[in-house]
Subunit: 352 residues, 2 copies
């Protein structure tokens, strides 16, 4: 099947670029003695998770329980779920998942930990719990080394749990701050006789600086498999490294300088990028997608010497690849202009 035969809008994944991106990341990790635990939230495809493992990853990362369950269904055997799992229903599912795969999770409070401790009581098969640390990203995470020690101690004191180490989602550009934060926390844990077996960092923008956090044992990049307009703005990769594009049709040319695409916020997502605009039209890089309605992309062609005609199909590099994947049930896996296979996004919408 040629990509010209695909109905639009549709997501195309360029396999040559994917393979190059995966290898480059694993090469970097290998060169720096860092382990890779890729985040599957970007692709949500067990086949790509298996490809990441085949290249040398030590396991995968999933952000939600449903995503982790879909990956277990897809044959992935070592899953890190860096999330506070709360509530009876989810804890029961977590326990069922722990019976199927090598599982680790995070906690950043005694409340979360109490739920784990009550659910996991078998010392012969403890659940690994990493303490989530906030080193500057201002999301989840303990704020101080003392809090980290308190949670590590409480974990170690629970028969069915095992202190797995520290987990950080660093602020972009925050490599140095993270190193400083971790240094004092590792020292405090070591003093408390609780040296962290794993120190896990994450994020694609600073992936190729991950080794600067010398205390880190593993890194969890996600977007690097596809890249997108945000990553290019942040200096991670170039347009040639962007594997995911949204194939769309110009459905209207109401004025000489305006084009309308059949991809709106339900296909491209409304996430903003530092460059402004809502995506890059590869064949018309000077075009600006100035607005998105739900099913229309509004394009300003003022700066374009050549301009698309009605019915023309163009490809758009979206601002944020991970949220685009989540809007589609399937993606087209292509080489050049030929469709090689389809990828079913089995965990799309698995938000719980």
């Amino acid at each position: 099947m040629h990509i010209d035969d695909i109905e639009t809008p549709a997501v195309l994944i360029d396999l040559d670029i994917v393979e190059r991106n995966l290898k480059a990341a694993q090469d970097y990790a290998d060169q720096h003695g860092l382990k890779l635990r890729p985040h599957v939230k970007t692709h949500k495809l067990p086949r790509f998770a298996r490809a990441q493992m085949a290249l040398g990853a030590i396991g995968i990362t999933a952000q939600k329980l449903g995503e982790a369950e879909a990956m277990a269904d897809g044959g992935l055997a070592d899953i890190f779920l860096p999330y506070n799992i709360l509530g009876a229903g989810k804890l029961a599912r977590l326990k069922a998942l722990h019976d199927r795969v090598t599982l680790s999770v995070t906690a950043d409070s005694l409340v979360t930990l109490a739920g784990y401790a009550a659910t996991f009581t078998d010392p012969s098969n403890p659940l690994a719990v990493l303490v989530e640390c906030d080193t500057g990203a201002a999301r989840c995470g303990v704020q101080t080394a003392e809090q980290a020690v308190e949670l590590a101690r409480a974990t170690a004191a629970s028969p069915g749990l095992r202190f797995g180490g520290l987990m950080v989602y660093p602020k972009r550009g925050g490599t140095a701050d993270t190193q400083i934060w971790l240094s004092s926390t590792v020292a405090a844990l070591t003093t408390a006789n609780l040296p962290p077996p794993v120190i896990s960092t994450g994020g694609t923008p600073d992936m190729l600086r991950a080794a600067e956090v010398t205390l880190a044992t593993e890194h969890r990049p996600g977007t690097y498999i596809y890249n997108d307009r945000m990553q290019v703005a942040w200096g991670h990769g170039t347009w040639e490294d962007c594997a995911l594009t949204v194939l769309t049709t110009v459905v209207s040319r109401p004025t000489p300088i305006r084009a309308i695409l059949d991809a709106g916020s339900k296909a491209l997502a409304a996430d903003l990028a530092p460059q402004g605009g809502h995506g890059r039209i590869t064949a018309y890089p000077d075009a600006i997608i100035t607005g998105l309605n739900e099913e229309h992309g509004i394009v300003d062609l003022s700066a374009c010497a050549e301009r698309p005609i009605i019915g023309e199909r163009v490809r758009v590099i979206p601002n944020h690849a991970c949220v685009v994947t989540n809007l589609f049930d399937r993606v087209y896996l292509i080489r050049g202009t030929q469709v090689e296979d389809m990828g079913e996004i089995t965990s799309r919408g698995k938000l719980t």
Copy 2:
């Protein structure tokens, strides 16, 4: 089932509010002699489309072919698809749909029209084509009365097509401009012996001013069934009129003024609202959802006297209800705190 037993994040639809919103819109239309053709893009549920019909709507509106096909599957018999349908594959599907239901579409170019004319050739069952007009919203649509006449004439000259009238998606607050634009276009069409049988306007924000466009014969509101934070900002409805909420759990309280929700951009969507922030937490209206990561909502509690604890469940009125519906496979239909039924979003992700 009590809403406390639902796993989060989840979409709750308050049926009492839905029924009130639907009735208020139909009452307004009836009082002003306007027909209602509700847009199903907001709810994507055939059951609600049937409820809209039962109250007096003359048909429904769908934005994409896949959405229209799902509505036909759900028993809806009169569907308006205000979109330029292009390409052999979609035209074949359009023809198949036309054989099943009373169908009308739009065109804003001779290119789109040529595709319809080549596909629909049976004079005994012509496809109704409305000419889309740009009266100020700067999306699709012809720019002048002359262009409208040209397209109406070309439609009328095609044996398998029928000139169905004019379709406008007006600029918000652009009621007066739309009336002026339509007046001159209707005059030009009448002079050309092509009086428009239907003049269709749309949009929820100006729904209760729709009758000010005295030339309009029908209105296509969508969001009014649920409302959302944007609509409240624009003056359409109050918080009590918001039927859709995202049920979410506080999974972390890293600092005294920060809470983290288990609903991020993959649950609440990244669409912006005039008030800033990413949604309204109903129980903590002074809280500000300052940021969304994919699976985390970041909340600033500085202004809150009372603050939620870890594990507490809260409900969020999202910025834009229509794009939230599109992120979930199903919604919970509730009365008070009891789940009455489930709604399967059959056309979610049907973007082609």
